[in-house]
Amino acid sequence: MIRLEGVSFRYRSAPEPALSEVTCHIRPGELVGLLGRSGSGRSTLASTLNGTIPHLVRGELRGRISIAGQDIQGLRPRDLADRVGFLFQDFEAQLFSTNVALEVAFGPENLGVPRAEIARRVDRCLRLARLEVLRHKAPAGLSGGQKQRLALASVLALEPRALVLDEPTSDLDPAGRRDLWEAIRRLREERALTLLIIDPETDEVGWADRLIVLDRGRVALSGTPAELWSEGDRLDALGVKGFTLARLATALGLAERWQDTDGAAAAIRAAGWRVAEGAADRLRRADDERASGGALLDVEDLTHRYPDGTEALAGVSCAIRRGEFVAILGQNGSGKTTLVKHFNGILTPTAGDIRLSGQSLRGQSLARLSRHVGLVFQNPDHQIFAERIRDEVAFGPRLQGLSENEVSRRVEEALEAVGLSDAGDLDPFILTKGSRQRVAVASTLATKPELIILDEPTTGLDHRELLGMMALIQRLNQAGHTILIVTHAMAVAATYVRRVILMQDGRIVREGPTREIFGNESGLFDLGLTPPPVVQVGNRLGVPALTLEELVGSLVQGTEGPRDKGTETRQ
């Protein structure tokens, strides 16, 4: 269906090729997952499949690409629109109509499909994307997940034979993610569509027929999920995180492939592993030893109503103690970001109060508050503006009116902390997304806030960048900064965060130690959240482990001896 032979591409003015000599073949009806670290050539490869490269993105393309047996050389995306559909990560930029039905109709209209047929396609595609009831709504008013499914429906209305999805779920919350994957599963049941899915997470595309891993523009590894199951080390070397459950299996010396966490737990038990006596208590005791200081931030009955009358926060009360590392979890629209925007004074409460070190934030200027509370926004590109990294980082301290000496001392310190000491004179825009994110963190760090809030700090980062970013945040926490993150990445919360706050519909529904909250899976499911695979396996085995190391450390071989209390209650 899709055949590439010796395809190479170099972006104009780039010294190195982005793709070199890529040869691969995707069979009709096959679902292929395309993996690789950022900069490995994943998106570049995808862009060659519908002529975006070389027609909209300039550079030097060589090799042969054919779709359904036809060489696509010289064909533009618009000529290929009814053969190769494209779904992009950024759903905002893909929607341009004033209502949902017209959005879906846009493609077929361009291709001159008769009106009656367009009407049929609109109905069919909206049904598939589960958007029938929203057909007269404006796309702008939909949730992120609904927008991405609308974009999917709009592409499907062109009835392409192959569909390329470029990180379709990266900007979605867990529920939005699940709904999109479900729509794609339904789609595959309905018709034989060839699918190429680019995704940073191996776990997300474990249901593919085949996985291809790119590295430096070459196909580095290719095989079925079963074949790549135990290739964790090789994937690691390519900057891709392997299957989480496979790492667990390897750590326990087990070879079989597990389909899901239930299967994993059963297999681990069958292999003679059990939870060591007192393991749960040991883990909980270790948590207590990391307890923190007095109250830093006090939120009391906070309510926020937007000018249009929507109540975004409805009586939120919580406290953040000095030195804590806290995460706020919840679906999009649950009020997480609205809440943290109150902490540095961007938003002011409609009712209720917030105190920082005992002092009310009411009436305090944003400029003053920014010295105590630093807020790192999700997208670094919303704030980077200077031509040199050094100037970007110096922006905050300069606004505080510090001496140039003090400013440059702080800039050096901040750059050192984020690992960009040597990059101070570079233009921030030549950096990767992960490094730009670091620049944004350094900019906040340079103002020396006591509380650092990070909104979705790992979105759009690949596996290594994610580990680097989280290690950085952890170091900041250990150095005495109080850290609050807003995140959808459940594995990040489980691994690094000590206490979580769960939000829904503008309220805090539960808060507590991460271990306790993640131990109650049904409580998380109710909020559309799923704990990471390792935590699920631990819960099934009866130990509240949050990381792979904790879980493996809690298991012992042998079937005898008194059983752990947790196991008994589970069974």
Binding site: N50, T52, L56, R78, A81, D82, G85, F86, F88, D90, E92, A93, F96, S97, T98, N99, A101, L102, F106, G107, P108, E109, N110, L111, G112, V113, P114, R115, I118, A119, V122, H136, A138, P139, A140, S154, L158, P307, K341, I346, L366, A367, S370, R371, G374, L375, F377, N379, D381, H382, Q383, I384, F385, F395, G396, L399, Q400, F429, S443, T447
Partner: protein, 263 residues
């Protein structure tokens, strides 16, 4: 980028064919440029406001009141000072200059109000379809619709200083991000305030560029400009109400012309 001026409501004006509304818009522009005196222009503005009320579109005026007021003030003041006349009032301001200034203010505001009513009651897709049926090439019609999409962005950027709650996402987010770093957009003199906006403009500009790039890719991959005869899912057509609206507007325009060239 997804904020439209269009108000999805039921009204007689919404139900009119987009071509009718394009003619009404052009008619109002013709009427506006005919006059310099405040009197007839005020009458025109009244007719337009009535039209807008029937179309339930006046709510949108609240979103641009600042722009309308600024234009009115700037126009009135500058014409008063610079236009010559024979009846002095105070300093170098003359009665004729002041009248001319007020007239020009109402004229520009009328045209904006008329355009706003058009955009508030007509879907972008309807405008495009109307233009195509009027034999405007599709690509040009679509480019025009993209320009319409930019209207809120431009107004939004211009008003960012005032933090109007309805302005578009990017501008708000960028402003929030920079204010979080301690940027003060509200104090200082005009020069200081202008300078403090540089950290906003660079990210907004780059974001818009990237967005435009994305848009181009998304448009092409949906077959935009495929070179085939384009069909339309939306249906438009002239009805009795269109004839009524066009005759009524024609009569009013004829009346204005008569006043202009006889009185």
């Amino acid at each position: 980028m997804n904020l439209f001026l269009y108000l999805d409501r039921e009204s007689p004006v919404h139900r009119l064919d987009p071509r009718t509304k394009i003619f009404l818009l052009l008619g109002s522009f013709v009427a506006a440029v005919l006059f310099f005196q405040p009197g007839p222009l005020l009458a025109l503005l009244a007719v337009l406001l009535l039209y807008g009320a029937v179309g339930r579109a006046l709510g949108n005026l609240r979103r641009v009141w600042f722009l309308l007021l600024s234009i009115a003030l700037i126009s009135t003041v500058s014409w008063s000072v610079f236009a010559r006349g024979s009846t002095p009032l105070v300093w170098r301001v003359t009665w004729e200059g002041l009248r001319y200034g007020i007239g020009a203010a109402i004229k520009i505001d009328s045209m904006i109000v008329s355009g706003l009513i058009f955009l508030s009651t007509t879907r972008t897709e309807e405008i495009v379809l109307g233009l195509i049926r009027l034999r405007v090439p599709y690509q040009a019609a679509f480019a025009f619709s993209l320009a319409i999409r930019m209207v809120p962005t431009i107004i939004g950027t211009a008003l960012a200083i005032r933090m109007v709650p309805t302005i578009i996402g990017t501008v708000v987010t960028v402003a929030e991000a920079q204010r979080s770093r301690g940027l003060d957009l509200e104090s200082g003199g005009p020069v200081q305030r202008l300078r403090s906006h540089v950290p906003l403009l660079v990210p907004i500009f780059l974001h818009t560029l990237r967005n435009t790039d994305q848009l181009a890719k998304a448009l092409e991959s949906r077959g935009f400009g495929a070179g085939r005869e384009r069909t339309s899912y939306l249906e438009i057509g002239f009805h009795v109400a269109d004839a009524f609206a066009l005759i009524l507007a024609g009569l009013i325009l004829a009346m204005f012309i008569a006043i202009r060239f006889t009185g």
